[in-house]
Symmetry: C2
Subunit: 309 residues, 2 copies
Amino acid sequence: MSLRLVFLGTGGSWPSKEAGVSALALRAPKQTLLFDCGEGTQRQLMFSSVSFMSITHIFITHFHGDHFLGLPGLIQSMSLNDRKKELVIVGPEGIEDLTKTLLGLGYFTLTFPIKVITAVPGEGVTAGEGEDGGLTITPFNVEHCVPGIGYAVEEPMRPGKFDKARALELGVPEGRLFSKLQKGEEVEVEGKKITPGMVMGPPRPGRKVIITGDTKYLDPPPEIWRNCDALVHEATFTKELEERAGEYGHSTAEQAAKSAKKVGAGILFLVHRSPRYKDPAILEEEAKAVFPNSYFPKDLEETDIPLRD
Amino acid sequence: MSLRLVFLGTGGSWPSKEAGVSALALRAPKQTLLFDCGEGTQRQLMFSSVSFMSITHIFITHFHGDHFLGLPGLIQSMSLNDRKKELVIVGPEGIEDLTKTLLGLGYFTLTFPIKVITAVPGEGVTAGEGEDGGLTITPFNVEHCVPGIGYAVEEPMRPGKFDKARALELGVPEGRLFSKLQKGEEVEVEGKKITPGMVMGPPRPGRKVIITGDTKYLDPPPEIWRNCDALVHEATFTKELEERAGEYGHSTAEQAAKSAKKVGAGILFLVHRSPRYKDPAILEEEAKAVFPNSYFPKDLEETDIPLRD
């Protein structure tokens, strides 16, 4: 299944010409998760491959305006477009009151149910089940100047690798029976039972994506970050401003890269640059020096997260 | 003095790729007035000639999200940029509670005083005095599906025309004494008193700009619209949808043009098109057929309102 990251807003604090404020979509085949929803997110969605109506879950990391002020407009536009499908909103302690307040702003009629979940670090929230995807999103604590959490998104375990040579050796003909075995079904070849276990390797973990939200450098990094396929880490400042970063509960690009290296991340995406950096290249370069597979995407860049073997 | 209209968001209901939601800035030399502040307005300002920090007054027409949901983000960004100067917010009954709610969203520290004024139709609000401009903004009632008001912006009276020939005839030499007379001061030429009244025509009215906000066709138009220099009128639909327009408290482009003609407007600017119209040309053409000096500006167009003789 495909997992696509859509960087809707890669700026922090306030929007600039170059970058909108925080929002990141994660598109799975049957679920679209939105992480943070700064002002302007609904319009950024219109310029992306994601339909704003397709969003199933919204996860808020903390209650600074640049991370949630796009919520009421998005919800009102969904209503004006007659959405019926439930929307799940997850956020730190206080998300129920905040959502209630946001739903009371001005005149509008909500056309769909909203389920609000207060995130509990370590307790996974499920998005979809079985054939609908079954992503698990687990909140973890971060350290910011206000209460904040990050989210780990994990796919379910994938079946092991299919050993084609072994299957042919056992007399299974290529075609329909191969696919039955790959789906976990037993087959019979010339009166002989062949079980999936005879031709499939051990189950492999699904992909894992970590979204930190705003946080100062976490050392050691949270255990759940280990071996993630993609680490989306805030990088508000360059290392020249490391002291300032610590003071305001933010990270430098170099610190983000150090964390990526420590946890063995597949790829590091930097986001949330201060409006002082018109071009993210300086932050990207700083991170690459520590962790070569580092990128600071521009707004509206999209990328598929590859499956590891 | 220059009066410039900056069309920040010319779309209605929800933003599209082509148009942001409602916001219009009016730039005078010492005051910057913002009419409505839909989501995304602070970023639109960054693409315009108007500094978001320079805004002195915000006028809200009604409490549909596409007209005010940009307020909290704008206020928070002003605070993050350490604004100290007072901001005046004017809006219909309920604006005090709404502002209070918006100021309570999430964590942030307000760095400047906000004065909230509940608009009373017919009672002008003054923006600046004397050399600071002295614009008067008078709310008027409109008819929308929720309580709404429009605003008439009026410049103070301008001095009359200077009669150069007459001044020379009276023996006033060109130069410093001309400018004294134009400023309303008495001068003496060869022992003879010359008063401004002897060389200046009668005072002329300043410019008047009408901003309707969302409204159905008002027939007859409000008296205060008469002889306005610019009428900024909503035009959500084309005339094919006139019935729908009436039902939802909106106007067609043709209706806006009829009003412009009736009141003798200098120029008609159409705004607030439904997201169904990707290109505003169809609405502009419809209006031009009734009132030739009609325009549907694109987002971020700016125009100076000329002085009439």
